[in-house]
Symmetry: C2
Subunit: 204 residues, 2 copies
DNA sequence: GAATTAAGCGGACACGGCGTCCACTTGTCG
DNA sequence: CGACAAGTGGACGCCGTGTCCGCTTAATTC
């Protein structure tokens, strides 16, 4: 076997103009398709046709539908992660030195509210990305779990990791979509989750 | 249009012997296939071949994989439903006249424990049946939701229906399977759910 | 601005699962 | 034993997936 890693990898090879153009077309078309109708029913053919490119070209960059949805979703999720780490209380941790941060239950409730906002705007993308068990293997989910487990530990709960998984479950995109379709408003969902947050992590 | 419902439907037409034999073969083969490996990966072809019958025969009785899994799962779910309605406390309601039934939080915890038992034995069937959003449209789920909403109402919680959906979410079969694969024991899962039950419906 | 090169492109192809259809077989009943 | 309906099973068409390979075109060099 010949080792192929001398002299580092050099500068990242620039993306060609036509490739960039096609990438943009794909993302725009996919966003549109996911938003209208059942995201799980969108096929790679659909996206290629809507973007006006060939199947081969589409597969060159994106191996499957989920990777396209993730590309569209990533920036939104990153923004929320940033606010969790460094944003204002009660979403963020508050002043670390003063020791006067918000209670864990408050922070969990704020996180719930932010996630409901995100779902309300982008459920179709979350459903277009990993669904079912695969969802638990994404980087984003690992982050949410870490965050909630941290809050549970702060609240003195035993086995924070297991509790974190269970507290994240009500945010499943399939449940959210089902509730919204049954006419439940985001406000009622958030209210229920707020109660849950205080019940689970409050000093009850 | 000719109305076709005079004189009731008469006696239910007996099932032919060969049909009954094939049904049994199908159920046995499906049970085996679901148990070994990924239930979602089992195809109708697989089942027909394992049962030693033709595709057409299989489709005659079962329109899809989910209906087969449900046929296998139904009796177990019915048994639990029966215990919820008329079993001993804390799973059942206790003596209705005496007014000394178990607290809602206790009953929810008992329900959680029973569901974990059921999942531990039959996750593969639940995953073989409806998964994702379709799960929320099953009769079984409607029953669980009714039960939990009833408990939430007894506990004086606002918007019991919404809270019920959220309290059922941690029982999602995909989550259960994922936790078990990560090495989490049923005991830890039940413990976390018990804490959740008391937090959400206890007199916090 | 022509020549060179490799990245990008896209249609054709094979594969596999789904669901249906229909000619044949077999159990059941008179 | 004969008639008939219920049951059977394999072949067929459809659709989505993912790959492969000859052609096109953007970028680079002189």
């Amino acid at each position: 076997m010949t080792t192929e890693l001398p002299l580092a990898d050099g500068p990242p090879p620039r993306e060609r103009a036509d490739a960039a153009r096609n990438r943009a077309k794909v993302l725009a078309a996919a966003e549109r398709l996911f938003a209208s109708g059942d995201p799980a029913a969108v096929t790679m053919d659909d996206i290629a046709r809507a973007a006006g490119i060939g199947r081969g070209t589409l597969y060159r960059r994106y191996p499957d539908r989920a990777s396209i949805a993730r590309a569209l979703l990533d920036e939104h999720e990153r923004a929320l992660q940033e606010r969790l780490l460094r944003g204002d209380p009660p979403l963020g941790p508050g002043d670390p030195a003063a020791g006067t941060g918000p209670a864990p239950a408050e922070r969990l409730a704020a996180f719930y509210a932010a996630m409901v906002d995100l779902l309300e705007t982008h459920v179709h993308l979350v459903l277009g990305a990993e669904t079912g068990e695969a969802r638990y293997r994404t980087g984003a989910h690992a982050f949410w779990r870490l965050h909630v487990a941290h809050l549970a530990r702060e609240a003195g709960r035993p086995d924070p990791e297991v509790l974190a998984d269970q507290l994240l479950a009500p945010l499943a995109p399939e449940l959210f979509r089902h509730q919204r379709e049954r006419g439940v408003t985001p406000e009622r969902i958030t209210a229920g989750l707020t109660a849950l947050a205080h019940g689970a992590l409050g000093q009850g």
